[in-house]
């Protein structure tokens, strides 16, 4: 088990290296001279040349790449923002807590709502309750996040004056963003829990529990529920990374100073070091989340351990099967 976890952690290194390569190539492919962005329009040619030399822009691309990687690894240096002239890393770290607050709380809220919904739908399979839950969770996932956010602002802030329409640092300001973000995740988890629960209800041990006269509520919650954790964990994992990627939508709509808004602003201002830095940091967090999720799987379902310990070939097919089951 420890060996497996260690292996997964070490795997971060090649993946992040790949991400940095991709991001670096994007920068290399980008037209335009960063020096023009950094210096005022009145700068002389000499100043521009000095700046180019200082940033290492005169070096060949491979050397620039090595410098970039060494800077990230040794100093956590993601470059300097064109806009503020501050280190990108510092700016991202200042904003990261806001992004994480929304992501984590929204995830908690969606799981608390989705799990019971999924169980209820499975227990009442093919009744109107089931159909209603399936339909509404599907619609919930189909709404564009930004539109849902705007509609809720219109209803709860503009018309009812219940919560602020924009982030203002108060607790009430977090309410709408968290609700909006939780919508998409509810659908996925509820669907997964329902499918999984439908399989479990047909298992022999459930039939045995019923046959010995166990109360239906205990059958469902004690014998059934414990085995639905896999789709819940899958939902948390994909929801969290989905939210970190989609953070920029909610953060833009509600003007939350998070990493997502930072990247969105940087994109429109063509502030590439900030875009690259944001992508690298979020990719890093998502990679860690996916490792945590895989480890959690084995905790929730010890049967998976034997698969993970098995030789490489077998592991792949079991992983593919797990991916199918979770989808």
């Amino acid at each position: 088990m420890t060996k497996y976890i260690l292996k997964r952690i070490l795997y971060i290194i090649p993946v992040m290296f790949g991400v940095i390569v991709v991001v670096f190539l994007m920068k290399a492919a980008t037209p335009g001279d960063p020096v023009l962005e950094l210096l005022p329009a009145t700068a002389t040619e000499e100043q521009k040349d000095a700046m180019r030399e200082e940033l290492g822009l005169n070096d060949p691309l491979p050397i620039q790449f090595v410098d970039y990687v060494v800077g990230i690894v040794t100093r956590g240096d993601l470059g300097t923002s064109y806009k503020t002239k501050q280190p990108v890393m510092t700016e991202i770290l200042q904003r990261l807590p806001n992004t994480l607050i929304v992501a984590v709380l929204a995830m908690a809220l969606s799981q608390v709502i989705a799990t019971p919904l999924g169980i209820l739908a499975a227990v009442k399979q093919n009744t109107w309750i089931d159909n209603l839950i399936v339909f509404f969770t599907m619609v919930g996932a189909s709404l564009p996040t930004f539109w849902l956010a705007l509609m809720l602002i219109d209803l709860f802030s503009v018309r009812l004056h219940l919560v602020p329409s924009m982030y203002n640092g108060t607790v009430a300001g977090w309410v709408l963003p968290i609700i909006v973000v939780s919508f998409g995740a509810i659908s996925q988890t509820a669907k997964g829990v329902r499918t999984n629960m439908l399989e479990i209800i047909r298992q022999d041990y459930i039939r045995t529990a019923r046959a010995k006269g166990q109360k239906e509520s205990i059958v469902i919650f004690k014998h059934g529920f414990g085995n639905t954790l896999i789709p819940v964990i899958a939902g948390i994992g994909s929801g969290l990374s989905g939210q970190l990627g989609g953070a920029l939508i909610v953060e833009t709509v509600f003007a939350i100073p998070g990493v997502g808004k930072y990247v969105a602003d940087a994109v429109t201002a063509r502030n590439f070091p900030a875009v690259q830095g944001g992508v690298i940091v979020l990719a890093f967090i998502c990679t860690i989340i996916s490792i945590l999720v895989d480890v959690m799987y084995t905790v929730a379902d010890p049967r998976l351990k034997t698969n993970l310990m098995a030789p490489a070939k077998k592991k792949k097919s079991s992983k593919a099967a797990a991916a199918n089951g979770g989808a």
Binding site: A29, W147, M151, D154, G242, G246, L248, I249, V267
Partner: protein, 301 residues
């Protein structure tokens, strides 16, 4: 003899219609199951309707999508302007109708590109296995590590605004999902005897993949493709909303919405209707996709 024609018998005859018609192919079976699924058929009808709207936009829309009328600025919905008018006096209904010409085709084109590139990679990875599989999947791992919304936005930032740039970005963002799902689908069929027997009589790898593997995994591939269209439509509108991708005066739904948000407090209809169009389209594709899943997924039988 007259006893035979009881209503019950008629019903039975109708029920056996498919059996009477002779051969039953998997495709026919799936269509039969799909037709029984009312929500899936509803989704399909909405999709066909939206396609008709896109094709007939010139006939349906009462005004042009960039016709400005400064005497009718920010009018609430009325008989003359079903969805109201925007800050430049453009008819929002007409703009929404023309909008169907963007989201639907772009969503489908991006899925097709993603399917050819991503699906091709998944096919090759699953068929050859071993090192080929390892190399392809490690590359996919890297792409997957970057959240797809971020990847699309970063790509558009580099490529610039515009239709082709948007298509490239969204197609690139959908490659990794396609690779993984096609790979999983091919894995399920590649160990069948017919693959071994084809190999033994010297059929080339390319022919085995395209003739034998793809047709047998087509169900899973179609399910993923339809799901891909709905998520692509959401991504298109999201990018346009942020102001990258398609921008005004292009009547893309996300772009219309993005313009309207400034005036949302006084003219909520500028935001409401384009958003509804996106939501209805995505719901339709999801309904249809779920129905397809039930009809095509062998595990659901």
């Amino acid at each position: 003899m007259s006893k035979i024609n009881t209503p019950a018998m008629e019903k039975l005859k109708k029920k056996n219609k498919y059996n009477e018609s002779g051969v039953s192919t998997p495709g026919k079976e799936a269509w039969k199951r799909l037709r029984r699924n009312k929500t899936a058929m509803a989704g399909m009808l909405i999709i066909l309707f939206l396609l008709a709207v896109a094709v007939l936009a010139d006939v349906i829309a009462p005004y042009g999508y960039r016709d400005q009328d400064y005497s009718a600025v920010m009018q609430p919905p009325s008989a003359a302007h079903l969805f109201g008018t925007d800050n430049l006096g453009r008819d929002i209904f007409s703009r929404c109708v023309y909008g169907a010409r963007y989201s639907l085709p772009i969503g489908v084109i991006c899925v097709l590109i993603g399917l050819v590139i991503g699906g091709g990679l998944g096919l090759v990875a699953a068929y050859f296995g071993g090192h080929t599989d390892n190399i392809i999947m490690r590359i996919i791992d890297v792409i997957q590590a970057i959240p797809s919304t971020m990847l699309c936005i970063a790509l558009v930032a580099i490529l610039g605004n515009g239709m082709w740039q948007l298509i490239v970005a969204i197609a690139a963002g959908s490659i990794q999902g396609m690779t993984k799902s096609v790979r999983a689908a091919i894995f399920m069929v590649r160990n069948n005897e017919y693959v071994d027997s084809s190999k033994s009589i010297g059929v080339s790898d390319g022919k085995i993949m395209l003739r034998h593997l793809v047709p047998n995994a087509v169900g899973m591939i179609v399910i993923n493709a339809v799901g891909g269209v709905s998520s692509n439509i959401l991504t298109i509108s999201t990018l346009s909303y942020i102001g990258v991708g398609l921008v005004s005066p292009t009547p893309e739904w996300g772009a219309i919405l993005s313009e309207g948000k400034t005036y949302m407090t006084v003219a909520p209809y500028m935001v409401l209707y384009p958003g509804l169009m996106i939501a209805i389209t995505v719901v339709a594709f999801n309904l249809f996709g779920n129905g397809l899943r039930d009809a095509l997924d062998p595990r659901m039988k």
